[in-house]
């Protein structure tokens, strides 16, 4: 079972308390009526599906109920870090070169 660090509860807890919520840092267009159908489809459906380091959202469903972001390696399932929703993307170089504290 994955152990995930919730940045709001500040605890590392079993995966069963969480719900996965897709790729992170996808901003909804500020004015949807101005974007083309292609751009809208891109926003709605197209995801990067990376093999490797992935920025993704999780929700602490059976806990504080908060959405937060995580950086996970999709190959090894290791969490590099988790951070609060709305925070900027953490710098990848520092993450890869320092041991993880946000979960295992």
């Amino acid at each position: 079972m994955l152990l995930i660090h919730c940045p709001y509860c500040n605890e590392t807890l079993p995966e069963l308390e969480y719900a996965y919520a897709g790729e992170a840092h996808i901003a909804r267009p500020a004015n949807p009526s101005e974007v083309s159908d292609e751009e809208w489809a891109e926003f709605l459906f197209m995801r990067s599906n990376v093999k490797g380091i992935h920025y993704e959202r999780w929700r602490h469903l059976h806990g504080c109920g908060r959405f937060f972001n995580a950086v996970r390696d999709t190959v090894s399932d290791k969490f590099l870090t988790t951070y609060e929703a709305g925070a900027p993307r953490p710098d990848l170089d520092t993450l890869v070169n320092t041991p993880a504290e946000g979960g295992k």
């Binding site: 509860c9 806990g63 504080c64 109920g65």
Partner: protein, 182 residues
């Protein structure tokens, strides 16, 4: 009326754990952001601290579930006073206070192996929940609020519709623990 109203207060007692149904309470879900001091003054309770922190004054008891969410328990006769205290704050400090008294029941689990009994449904490390604190967590797929009153005494708030299932599960677990050869 649901099936639970006919359940007796004591549900099961084995050598491992006792399972009881707590008396009806007034329950409120409070959501508030910003300055908490006016709410603390109105309710007479401290609302700060890390998630899982509890506070109590008289019959009122609160637990912080999220950065902006608290569960507030009291006696049914105190409900109107709580509603009145918060309503007076509403204009200056918009918030949400929702009565959820009829939504949940509280199951008391106590006894020498109460903590072990909880591990049958809760993936979290029970030992890390300090006595006197609590957490919202999951029990066999159901969201519950777990209050740890003492080393071997817990209360579990669970939605009515899930309660018969969870209570049956706890009964089976308590019997199995008691049946184990020492």
């Amino acid at each position: 009326m649901n099936a639970l109203t006919s359940l007796p207060t004591a549900i099961l007692e084995t050598s491992a754990a006792r399972i009881l149904l707590a008396k009806p309470k007034a329950r409120f879900s409070l959501r508030a952001r910003g300055d908490l001091a006016p709410f603390e003054a109105a309710l007479g309770l401290s609302l700060g601290g890390p998630l899982g922190t509890r506070a109590s004054t008289g019959s009122r008891e609160t637990i912080r579930l999220a950065p902006d969410e608290w569960m507030l328990h009291s006696t049914p006769s105190d409900a109107a006073a709580i509603e009145g205290a918060c309503a007076a704050l509403y204009d200056a400090h918009p918030h949400s206070l929702v009565s959820v008294s009829a939504r949940e029941v509280t199951v008391v689990i106590e006894g020498p192996r109460a903590a072990e009994l909880l591990t049958i449904g809760c993936p979290r490390d029970i030992a890390k929940i300090e006595p006197g604190s609590g957490r919202r967590t999951v029990f066999d797929g159901v969201t519950v609020i777990l209050w740890r009153d003492a080393e071997d005494s817990f209360r579990m708030d669970v939605w009515n519709s899930f309660a018969p299932h969870l209570i049956d599960l706890l009964k089976i677990g308590a019997r199995e623990l008691a049946a184990e050869v020492a």
